[in-house]
Subunit: 201 residues, 2 copies
DNA sequence: TTTTTGAACATATGACGTTTTTAGTCGAAT
DNA sequence: ATTCGACTAAAAACGTCATATGTTCAAAAA
């Protein structure tokens, strides 16, 4: 078995164990014995516990990114793309247990490593949403707004949407809420009269 | 001194002490001695420590509500009202230290008492924003949207905005961010063509 | 009667020493 | 190059005890 394959196997079991017990309670002997190996087997492939956990988080973050990237060309309709972005993120967040837990748990939040991972993810999300906005502007579906600020504002609104997904156990009506939020973001609340005044300036 | 006046004095000092040390570290002797009284003096006015803290939070939440209520008629311009709502909330959140801390601290979050306080505040905010939307619709500044769902979506976006205020120490460009978010919410991202298609249906 | 107090009680908390667990190392075996 | 088992040092878990602090109450003061 190749080096990377072995690492993947370890990461796979580790993901399970960390998900079950959390970072602190999870122990390396447990992970190793699932692979029918001794504990020090793991140290041939990883430097320490934190590096394994980091790899698990990276895997989960990559999962999020790759699924979200797909939304940039999931459809020809811009609104559909953004809808997919929201719904898919809501779904995957439930599955990447360790990543979600990292957001919550106090003693992990502050570690620089994880802070980086998080801002990486935010950067990638920003790029994906920018891509969606740009192609929407090109196709004439969207107004000619500054894509950067628009993406930033969109992701701000998203954060409010995701917050209960991260913290609460239940979160109902994900799709309905997403659609209403998209209505707001797409068509705005201003009346036609108010719009015309602004656009003529 | 009247009963309620004494209670207010206690709450006032308690607010200070809790803000300084947090719920756990704060002690009643400290609060009492600031008033030149013995520790058990407090027990004539409050049943226990939690009740004092609860009163402090209530005071802070009332402060938030009253300042936010003001925004419902702070101006004739709907956009200005919503802008005030955002900026004022951002400002007050920095001042009501104990309330903000309650949101963060793990062992307080789950207490039913505080959960209620929080959902009370959310209900009130919902009402205020509904009022703003209704008067905006009436004056012709806003489209004839369902005020309930619009308020919900607006507050969702707000939550994303407030999140860094609660968790991070610094948060730059509050006003600029607020304005950009308001642009999004007011005029939407859809092009004129896309709008017409929807509105004609 | 209303308000305040000080002593007494009960519970919570932090400090400390002991035991157990576990992350991480290393030389040997294959 | 890969895996193991024994080893170490550090951390976590546990129990205990002294102290601090929340809470009660009967009695004093206003």
């Amino acid at each position: 078995m190749s080096d990377t394959e072995t690492r993947e196997k370890i990461i796979c079991e580790a993901e399970d164990v960390f998900a079950k017990y959390g970072y602190r309670r999870a122990n390396l002997e447990d992970i190793a014995s699932r692979l029918g190996k001794g504990k020090s087997f793991i140290y041939y492939y990883f430097r320490n516990k934190e590096e394994i956990f980091s790899a698990v988080l990276r895997k989960e973050a990559d999962r999020l990114i790759s699924e979200l990237s797909g939304t940039a060309d999931s459809s020809k309709d811009t609104r559909k793309k953004l809808r997919d972005f929201i719904i898919i993120k809501a779904k995957i967040l439930r599955e990447v247990v360790n990543y979600s837990r990292m957001i919550k748990e106090e003693y992990l939040k502050e570690k620089v490593l994880f802070e980086n991972l998080r801002s990486d993810l935010e950067k990638k999300e920003f790029e994906i949403v920018c891509t969606i906005f740009n192609s929407g502007i090109e196709s004439g579906e969207l107004r000619k707004l500054d894509p950067g600020w628009t993406a930033e504002s969109f992701l701000t609104a998203m954060k409010g949407f995701e917050f209960p997904l991260m913290t609460k156990d239940s979160f109902e009506n994900v799709e309905k809420r997403a659609d209403k939020l998209l209505d707001l973001i797409f068509y705005g609340i201003a009346s036609e009269d108010a719009r015309k005044k602004i656009i003529n300036n």
